[in-house]
Symmetry: D2
């Protein structure tokens, strides 16, 4: 069990086994998501781009950032699930829209 | 192309075709992620849980929330990619840790 | 020293005495602000409105929320200062604009 | 009316005149605060420190950032008010605690 598609059923089972479903409203999960993104940003806030690069190559920062991105994804997957949204499909649909909104450089007629 | 695994190569190609790679530093992408989560939370901020439920069943709120979760996932996927992290694997590893940290109710010896 | 106006000089002196000024760029301070707001939201994320009310009347939640709002204000004051903005004046100017944008109920001609 | 202390009564009157008080719960205001900070961070997300400095000296970025810091302060003041917290006093108390937690460089015995 290591793919993205398994996250939805795993998180459903996790919440059910702990009777956490009543707490997993869209509002609460959006707030939890906001809190986790705050923690992720806080990991980087006093570091230069160069320091971030170096410390992401290994060690404590890498582990802390990996832990935070996991938390963000878990709350995002759970939020989308309780909202009845197919997260990966919405993301692909958004890239489709972005491709029209921001034409690639090759499409520049003067190129 | 609609699965989660295709998001990483699609976003790499998208950034490359627009020469946006220099902007896609971990810091910048973490900030962009924070901005998108703020927009998601803002969609729900004045609504009751009941109103959110009703309006998520269809209509404008559903579309706006779907658009925002897509943006959040896209920046999260891109952030993890430029950090060299396997997002789905980190999420599963985090659930593993959470299963130890928060034992399910069945595990309660007095039950 | 307990008024709002003293916060700007106190925070300048605090940063100078620790040689933290090079870290206090607008970007870094905006990120720090984002992190602190995430912590504030996280304090409330699993509680009902009723529980928040009760727990704000005293005890640990009140102290934690007080600590977080202080952190948010400190980073906001410092951010505005390094940006050369007069925070209180900007806030009053924004209320002025909001008064035009959202007319009060008394102004409704049909009332 | 341009000082910090006038913000609390102005915002109370503003909410009362529009009958917005029922919406101004701690949760809702914390979410609104989170959304505004997201907008502030988003203003800076693709700019270098040098670009931010230059564009803050005048022009559109300065105005947008001034507008966002005002929004953040307004929701923070309102949040603290409905929670029964004295925002400026909490901020000073936090600086007091930080002065103990992070001694200034002068206090270094080896200096």
């Amino acid at each position: 069990m290591s793919g993205f598609d398994e996250l939805v059923p795993r998180l459903r089972a996790f919440a059910a086994a702990r009777e956490w479903e009543p707490f997993h409203t869209p509002r609460n999960l959006a707030m939890a998501l906001s809190g986790e993104v705050g923690e992720l940003v806080a990991e980087l806030q006093w570091l230069s781009d160069k320091e971030i690069r170096e410390q992401l190559d290994g060690g404590a920062l890498r582990e802390r950032v990996a832990d935070e991105v996991a938390d963000v994804l878990l709350y995002l997957v759970r939020f989308a699930d309780v909202c009845g949204l197919d997260l990966a499909a919405e993301a692909h649909a958004k890239i489709d829209r972005n491709e029209h909104r921001f034409p690639p450089l090759e499409a520049n007629p003067s190129a």
